[in-house]
Amino acid sequence: MNLLKSDLRHSPEFLVDALGLDSLRSLAIIGMGKNAGKTTVLNHLLNAIRQMKSKRVVAVTSIGLDGEDEDIVTGSVKPRIYLTEGALLATSCGSLNKCDAVIEILALTGIHTATGEIAIGRMRTNGYVELAGPSIARDVATCERYCREMEENCLFIVDGALSRKSPAGGGLTESVILVAGAANASSLEALATETARQVLFLTLPSVGEQKKDKFRESMEEHPTHRAIFLSVADDERQALSAERVSSPSERKARSRSLPLGSVIGEGKTIALELRRDDTALLLRGAITDNVLEYLLSDSAFADMTLVAEDGTRFFLSDKAVRQLRQRSVDLAVLSELSLPLICVNPMRRDGSTVEREDILEAIKSVVDVPVCELGPALV
């Protein structure tokens, strides 16, 4: 399908270059909230890939439901996702019935969602599809594995969401596009502030290799534990004794973990476990103001690194970020993300639009990442 080209900068070639689509293996599109314009960006991406000289098979899935005609929550009409022949998709059986393309079923994954089991399909004709993918990271990875069994070199695209409940792209994909829509904030200033904060999280550096190894070791040993603490003695010994590699048992002894079902609602339990010699705390789940409130109430929570699995796991307010700085608590992630592009969408929730230049300017003024407005994708 043809896409409207607002200007050369937003041409398909621009997206191919900006995102390195000819060699990228996986990409997530993350919206700042509902109706941010993720599907429009996805359609632009798909169009760009179709027009590439070197043909690439795309494989698409979503975190939860996307591509439906109408927004289930707000009732507004939504853009549809258009895939062309040969593309792969991972979507639920319930959503397959709402696709108007001919889709060859290649596998049923055993991953069950509210709208049925996730199937892997190949487009046998062009057509509109509804994506309803898995809601947890492990299952998204399973879908990618299935897709790569069919097409080893496919570009795996995850239509994600910033949600406390589900992981978006971090750790699962190489790259992330952030989509900020006028619908996601009450004003452009507020949108700019929230986008800047989100960019801060999405571009957080990875925790140091030694700590990362130790966290991973602990995660392997206790896959269900949600809070992992590293203490100072351990780091010091390693730093002081570079020649002597501590045995796994010694290293284990320096990390502690808590068997929590979730991070949310467990701030108090986590805070109780904090010790003054802790140097890093990994929380495997959504890190919210509420969790942080308990941690900050303990004076031991200072001069350390607070680590999330990836940048999409932080849901902190500006105030919380400031408080962390005052305590000399650095933020870091296990899986670093690449954020090559921010897309903005001038459409408000009520269907009216803000000025394209205004929204571009507002976001560009607060971030150091390329920002673009792709315009509507006619599909």
């Binding site: 043809n2 059986c93 397959l96 108007d100 001919v102 079923i105 290649l106 062009n126 057509g127 006619l378």
Partner: protein, 499 residues
């Protein structure tokens, strides 16, 4: 019929053993979960199961690669109960369901080619080429499925028209776009109607093969479950059970409890295998504290339960008559059941077992019945039970500390326990470093072998010695001596002689 509470099943280790019996297909897992109990009237079926498992054990040792390949194929089967039910009701199958059927047909073909394995398992899985052809009209030999153009010329035509409109849309003026989209939508709607017609037709055509599909799925379940039991038997080094006639003794040689054995192995300890023979009537198992009476009862009960569930037991030699029912109880401490007291609950259980034993030939196993009752009445009750079951056709096995007099149909066996010289030697080795050390030392001295005792079995008297070795307070031990009527001098003399 098994009369075992959920808690007692856990104590017996039955769920753990069933978990260890690993089926790969949903069909195999369902068959396992069914827990078919082979009653005496099912002897022929059970014999067939054991014959197949015997052949499979030989096969898996000779052809391990083939077995691994079969396991992979079995693991790819899906639960198609809903799809088959839809087929039976002629509900037009969804595309994903048709894919499932196609996949299953391909797997049937794969399995049907594994003839030596199927022969060993005494199972028939047949390829269904005609049904496969229905779901692969273009002979593409692909793993996937969609409603192919070959199913309907009209469908092919509609798809071509849609494709043509989509091509026009790629280069059209925006003014034309809306009308092209509307035309496309109309074609899509007609395509969906035609697809529904195709699915209905395809469902009807597949329904002819419904019975063959069901038979194949059933065979897959049987193959998987037999293979899983063969693997388990092979791991245990289990011998093929012999099925005996009514009135014969059940015999288990070198039996172990696989769950406890595994736990001990993890602690670098060894499970001492036991042998036992259970005649019809009552068998009273006695033995010292820490002598493993409960473990012995569990091992023999689990072995006999497994045989009647179609498994090889964890014993090198096993032979047993088939019982109408097997009842096992050790869980008398749970007082919450049905609002009855501990004793009330136990008596209800004893009453019901006795009623069943009058009607059929059962195996009734009780671990220390009446343990919470006053010793005099408990001794009377246990003695009466022994006499009652001594006259029944089935077998009654109890472990108890109460004295059970000899009588018709009452056999006594005991765990040898610790020779008093060994206990004396242990006393002279000094104070154990820890409780664990003390327990290990006692366990090391224990002779777990089961031996037959002629006449009424003496009540074991090692409890106080073991309590002493485990460091019970000296004052308490002195009071025990007082209660037992030992004078201070006698006690001193005894201790001196030990030293």
């Amino acid at each position: 019929m098994l009369i075992i509470s959920r808690h007692d099943e856990e104590r017996l280790g039955l769920p753990q053993v069933l978990d260890a019996c690993r089926c790969y297909s949903p069909q195999g897992r369902r068959l396992k979960a069914k827990r078919t109990f082979y009653a005496p009237s099912d002897r022929a079926s059970l014999t067939k199961e054991f014959d197949a498992i015997e052949s499979l054990i030989a096969f898996l040792n000779e052809h391990p690669t083939d077995v691994r390949r079969a396991a992979v194929t079995l693991g790819r089967f899906r639960d198609l109960l809903g799809t088959l039910s839809g087929l039976e009701k002629r509900r037009p199958l969804e595309v994903t369901e048709l894919f499932e059927v196609k996949q299953a047909l391909q797997l049937f073909r794969e399995l049907s080619a594994m003839e030596p394995l199927l022969r060993a398992a005494s199972v028939d899985v047949t390829a269904m080429p005609e049904a496969e052809a229905l779901l692969d009209p273009g002979d593409r030999k692909t793993i996937g499925f969609y409603l192919y153009d070959e199913y309907s010329p009209r469908l092919a035509e509609l798809r071509q028209q849609r494709s043509s409109i989509e091509r026009q849309m790629e280069s059209c003026e925006s003014s034309q776009r809306e009308s092209l989209l509307a035309e496309r939508a109309s074609l899509v709607a007609e395509e969906e109607r035609e697809e529904a017609v195709v699915r209905t037709r395809l469902t009807g055509a597949l329904a002819i093969y419904l019975e063959a599909l069901k038979e194949n799925f059933s065979a897959v379940g049987v193959l998987d479950f037999r293979l899983a039991r063969a693997v388990l038997a092979d791991q245990w080094g289990a011998g093929k059970p012999s099925l005996l006639g009514d009135g014969d003794h059940a015999t288990l040689e070198n039996m172990s409890h696989p769950v406890i054995e595994e736990d001990l192995r993890k602690r670098d300890a060894i499970f001492v295998r036991q042998s036992v023979s259970l005649p019809p009537g009552t068998t009273v198992l006695s033995g010292p504290n820490m002598g493993g009476k409960s473990v012995a009862l569990k091992s023999m009960t689990l072995a006999l339960v497994l045989i009647q569930l179609g498994f090889y037991p964890s014993a090198t030699v096993s032979a047993t008559p088939l019982y109408d029912f097997i009842s096992y109880s050790s869980d008398h401490l749970d007082t919450t059941k049905r609002g009855l007291s501990t004793f009330g609950n136990e008596i209800v259980r004893i009453r019901d077992d006795a009623a069943r034993a009058r009607k059929g030939r059962g195996l009734v196993v009780m671990d220390e019945p009446c343990r919470g009752t006053n010793p005099e009445e408990a001794t009377a009750l246990v003695g009466a039970l022994a006499r009652f079951y001594g006259k029944q056709r089935g077998s009654f096995v109890i472990s108890t500390h109460y004295r059970v007099p000899d009588g018709d149909g009452i056999a006594h066996v005991r765990i040898r326990g610790i020779q008093s010289e060994a206990l004396d030697a242990m006393s002279s080795d000094g104070v154990p470093e820890s409780d664990r050390d003390a327990i290990r030392r006692i366990e090391a001295l224990m002779d777990y072998r089961i031996e037959r005792v002629e006449g009424g079995a003496p009540v074991p008297t090692d409890a106080i010695r073991i309590a002493e070795l485990l460091g019970l307070d000296e004052d308490i031990l002195a009071f025990i001596d007082d209660v037992n009527g030992k004078s201070g001098a006698a006690k001193e003399e005894e201790r001196t002689s030990q030293k």
